[in-house]
Amino acid sequence: MPTIWLGNHAAVDHIPTGEVDDRGEHVKVRTPIEGKRCTIVQPPDDISVAEIITTLTHPSGVWAAHSNADAPAWVASTDPELTQVLASVWGCEARDPEPEA
């Protein structure tokens, strides 16, 4: 499976308030987190590049759940072609994978 790293300069956390809503779910508050962070994403092997793009970029998808920014600051991936595609879709910098950097 490819691993994708997304530079996240406007990360959010989802903090429980202690209340439960009428669905029986814990109410959570979307809370901005300071600092430059990295969101790691691991799509399964059997999905297409088109599905990866939708899964990551849709308003109900991965990026929107993890960040208040419109797009990542940069993208890196174990799959160089996927890196270029995602960088093009988001209009952000494509980096070589350096997950520890």
Partner: protein, 130 residues
């Protein structure tokens, strides 16, 4: 809802000497009954052979230093699915295409109706470790 079976699976995967499969498969149902902690199966789970709305592996994601992880799946209805269908609830399992341990069961914040082949539902389950 964090189900009783899911809590047991958490122990098995985080501490136990015998690891179980990760719960990263997402399943859908039109059933809108409220989850209860003792549920072990997803009532009315869509299991249409070759359908696009059947249980499938999601995409896990986590931002370093946060308490949250997400599991996201783009479901695309196809010609095998029985449409229209209004999705009301989802669950995560640690196996496919059936069976396994159901870890989380969640009524969607808003139902989603798929009416035609090609319609898509992007579903993100957000889990907070606290």
């Amino acid at each position: 809802m964090y189900l009783n079976g899911g809590k047991d699976l958490t122990y098995t995967n985080m501490v136990s000497l015998s690891q179980a499969a990760a719960a990263n498969y997402m399943a859908l149902t039109a059933n809108s009954a409220s989850p209860v902690a003792t549920d072990t199966t997803l009532t009315g789970e869509i299991t249409t052979a070759s359908g696009g709305l059947i249980r499938a592996q999601g995409t896990p994601a986590h931002t370093n230093g946060t308490s949250t992880w997400t599991l996201t799946k783009t479901f695309t209805a196809n010609g095998s699915d029985s449409l229209p269908v209004t999705i009301a609830k989802m669950a995560t399992f640690n196996a496919t295409p059936s069976g396994g341990t159901m870890m989380f069961e969640t009524l969607l914040s808003a139902t989603a109706t798929l009416t035609a082949s090609g319609d898509q539902l992007v579903l993100t389950d957000t889990v907070t470790m606290s």
